[in-house]
């Protein structure tokens, strides 16, 4: 995986998550990025 590419994968997973379930209407999360290259 290219450096900094992983947030895209996480973002896509969020897209999936947003189509199901319950609890919150919106949010913002912060993650430490990996240094893979």
């Amino acid at each position: 995986m290219a450096k900094n590419a992983w947030p895209f994968a996480l973002g896509l997973s969020l897209l999936i998550a947003s189509s199901a379930g319950a609890q919150v209407t919106s949010g913002v999360l912060n993650v430490t990025q990996c240094e893979m290259s």
Binding site: M1, N4, W6, P7, F8, A9, L10, G11, L12, S13, L14, L15, I16, A17, S18, S19, A20, G21, A22, Q23, V24, T25, S26, G27, V28, L29, N30, V31, T32, Q33, C34, E35, M36
Partner: protein, 156 residues
């Protein structure tokens, strides 16, 4: 392109998710009439399998939940509209603020004391963070606690 494909595939508006790669910040919003399930979010992050020996971590998550704030057993709780989910509410003791400034949690309690109806709470979810893969091994303990940063009251 992949993002658009996913949005089509899951019938989700791609505008619901924003990525700020430099800071590692991701914003999300549920579709109108829907809600985002934090357990499923946790599951989805796990499903990316981006874990182990990479230095990655979930640092924090702030959420906005809509519902009704009630005092139950000496504990303020937010009962989420459209769900049986309940969040406990607490003061964000780590937040920095001017000395004269009242904590949002204290302001929320005052609003309730005046008889106002609190309909939305924004804040940091306690315990929702940690390094991968440890953070991904188990769901954060329930009930989740929102450390209050902002709130809205019903308009008269």
């Amino acid at each position: 392109m992949a993002r658009d494909a996913t949005a089509r595939l899951y019938d989700v508006d791609a505008d619901n998710v924003g990525l700020e790669i430099k800071t590692g910040t991701i914003t999300f919003r549920a579709k109108k009439g829907r809600l985002v399930d934090l357990d499923k979010l946790h599951e989805s992050i796990w499903a990316t399998r981006l874990s182990g020996k990479t230095g990655m971590a979930m640092n924090w998550i702030d959420v906005t939940a809509e519902g009704e704030v009630v005092l139950d057993q000496a504990q303020l709780r937010l009962k989420v509209t459209g769900s049986d989910q309940v969040f406990l509410l607490a003061d964000d003791t780590k937040a920095t603020r001017k000395s004269a400034e009242k904590a949002p949690f204290a302001q929320l309690k005052e609003a309730l004391g005046r008889g106002e109806k609190v309909v939305s709470v924004t804040g940091r979810v306690e315990g929702w963070g940690g390094h991968f893969p440890d953070f991904l091994k188990a769901l954060p303990k329930k009930p989740l606690v929102i450390l209050v940063k902002e709130f809205e009251v019903a308009k008269h």
